[in-house]
Amino acid sequence: MSCPRCDHDTTATLAESPVPGVWQVLQCQRCLYTWRTTEPARRTQRDAYPAEFRMTQADIDNAPEVPSIPPLRRSGGAG
């Protein structure tokens, strides 16, 4: 099953329902979108997933860093 959000084809199973066989929690291994298999189609099926929330590899690559990673402090003190 492909990712509803980014259409990537690799998912991992994060959790299974404590009552066996009711649902699974899946996660896309590219955009990390996470969903439960029993959620409405607008959250679980690619063709029903809203356009405004879709994500691409470019979106991931260009996502801002929050917070930005600071420069390393120089080791060693002043003489």
């Binding site: 009711v22 979108y33 029993t38 409405p40 959250r43 994500m55 929050v66 917070p67 390393l72 402090r73």
Partner: protein, 476 residues
């Protein structure tokens, strides 16, 4: 009597008719998010919700909307449920004055009874996680307090931070955490990352109601949230030592997650429907590795719905935002009478102040921009006269409509800092800020024609009493 944990407060809400227990089976999605969304639309006396029959789970207990009305906020402060908003803020201010109240270290916290470490760690095993809003990238822990310490001064209790930050569950032992750059945890993280180190954190889920309030209160960097919790409770806050990090965590917490924010690592996170009423967008955010989970028997998962205001978060952080801004302004300007910063965590604030001389109100407005919270919020400041109640929006609108001449009363200040979640900021984190001086000009500012205000007649106060008596007699 102060509440020592979430469970005892749920009982208080129950006794006051402010907790709705829903025992019918509900779906984790969309029911839990939709119910919490809906309860926020029921108005200012809406109840908390408690679910314990959720499809697919065998042992789920979920509390929502615990702070989500003025009645519940009053009960959290141990006040009568019908306490007026302005009076709740006034009482908050009175208790704030008793800061600091040292915490009480207690033994045998309930969360020490069950432990998972290393490869056993599975957040999904302990917490019945679910999605809140359609566009959320995953399942969130959004009402926990995150405890961290200043890496340069790890033994400094006052600089230990206790704050609520959004947390996305991204794996059985992996979380994404949002340290907004203006918040204290971001200062801790920056120091750790400058040293190439991880930042240890302890995350307490499901807390007594005052801990949740102080976790969302913008205190000064070296003010202890636990000492403020003691002030707001009127009794020392009970704390205990987390076993892995050694950090101080709430004694009454339902679940404690411990681990580290992995230094110098970012990974795609979100979006998440935020307190701004807008989604955050996807960002590359910090990653937490969870190394240990401690939890009470039959833990209760507390979560919070947020969306277009007002929702629970607006009650939770409303007074908690007004009071520190008021205190910090008053420290410099004793003329400041009241602050209403309940709108989107203080992105907009209304300040009532007396005036020393012409131009003074604008100075008060500018000071609000430069207090610590103002650096990330306080985008729109409305300054009103001391006889205008900033919590009375019709009065504020009167001041705006009659005291403002845009020719001299509107200051548009370019390119200042704001939290990057502000959807209007461009680029994210940068915004103009606006000060509207809606006070009456005083000497030497002689603009306008304000010398003949219509004031209530001297006899009106007595007539108010008389009319009330007459109405009461008629009703009787």
């Amino acid at each position: 009597m102060p509440h020592d944990d979430l469970r005892s407060f749920l009982d208080v809400l129950d006794a006051a008719g402010q907790l709705l227990r829903i025992s019918d089976e509900v779906a984790p999605e969309p029911d839990l998010g939709a119910a919490a969304n809906a309860v926020a639309r029921l108005g200012e006396n809406a109840p908390a919700l408690y679910f314990d029959n959720v499809t697919g789970f065998t042992d789920a207990r979920i509390a929502l909307n615990v702070h989500g009305s003025w009645a519940n906020h009053a009960l959290a402060l141990d006040l009568p449920a019908d306490t007026a908003v302005k009076e709740q803020v006034a009482e908050f201010i009175r208790r704030w004055e008793t800061f600091p109240v040292p915490p009480e270290r207690r033994a045998d916290p309930g969360w020490a009874r069950n432990t998972r470490t290393g490869g056993e760690v599975d957040v999904f095993e302990v917490l019945p996680l679910f999605r809140l809003n359609d566009g959320d990238g995953g399942f969130y822990i959004d009402k926990a307090v995150v405890v961290s310490r200043d890496p340069d001064e790890p033994d400094n209790f006052d600089k230990q931070n206790v704050g609520v930050y959004r947390i996305e569950v991204k794996g059985r032992a992996k979380l994404g955490l949002q340290p907004v750059p203006m918040h204290d945890i971001a200062l801790h993280l920056r120091k750790a990352e400058e040293n190439g180190a991880d930042l240890p954190v302890a995350i307490a889920v499901g807390n007594d109601p005052i801990i949740s309030i102080v976790g969302g209160t913008p205190l000064a960097y070296d003010q202890s949230e636990y000492e403020m919790a003691g002030a707001l409770r009127g009794a020392p806050a009970p704390i205990a030592t987390a076993p892995l990090t050694g950090f101080d965590v709430p004694w009454g917490a339902e679940v404690v997650l411990e681990g580290v924010i992995e230094g110098r690592r970012r990974e795609i996170e979100g979006p998440f429907g935020e307190f701004t009423g807008h989604y955050s967008g996807g960002r590359n955010m910090t990653v937490v590795r969870v190394d240990r989970i401690s939890f009470r028997d039959r833990p209760v998962f507390e979560s919070l719905y947020l969306g277009m205001p007002w929702t629970e978060i607006d009650y939770l952080i409303g007074p908690a935002t007004c009071v520190p801004i008021y205190q910090q302004l008053k420290a410099d300007f004793p003329e400041v009478r009241a602050v209403n910063a309940m709108y989107t965590h203080g992105l907009l604030a209304v300040i009532a102040t007396g005036k020393r001389y012409g131009g003074f109100a604008k100075a008060v407005g500018m000071r609000a921009l430069t207090i610590p919270h103002g650096l990330g919020y306080c985008k729109v400041i409305i300054v009103v006269d001391e006889d205008v109640d900033p919590f009375n929006l019709p009065q504020v609108m009167w001041a705006l409509s009659t005291k403002v001449n845009p020719a001299g009363d509107v200051l548009n200040l370019p390119n200042l800092s704001v939290l990057e979640l502000d959807p209007g900021s461009q680029p994210p984190g940068i915004s103009n800020k606006l000060i509207i001086d809606a006070t009456t000009p005083v000497e030497p500012d002689a603009r306008g024609h304000y010398s003949q205000p219509v004031t209530d007649l001297p006899e009106a106060a007595a007539w108010i009493d008389r009319l009330r008596r007459l109405l009461a007699a008629r009703a009787g």
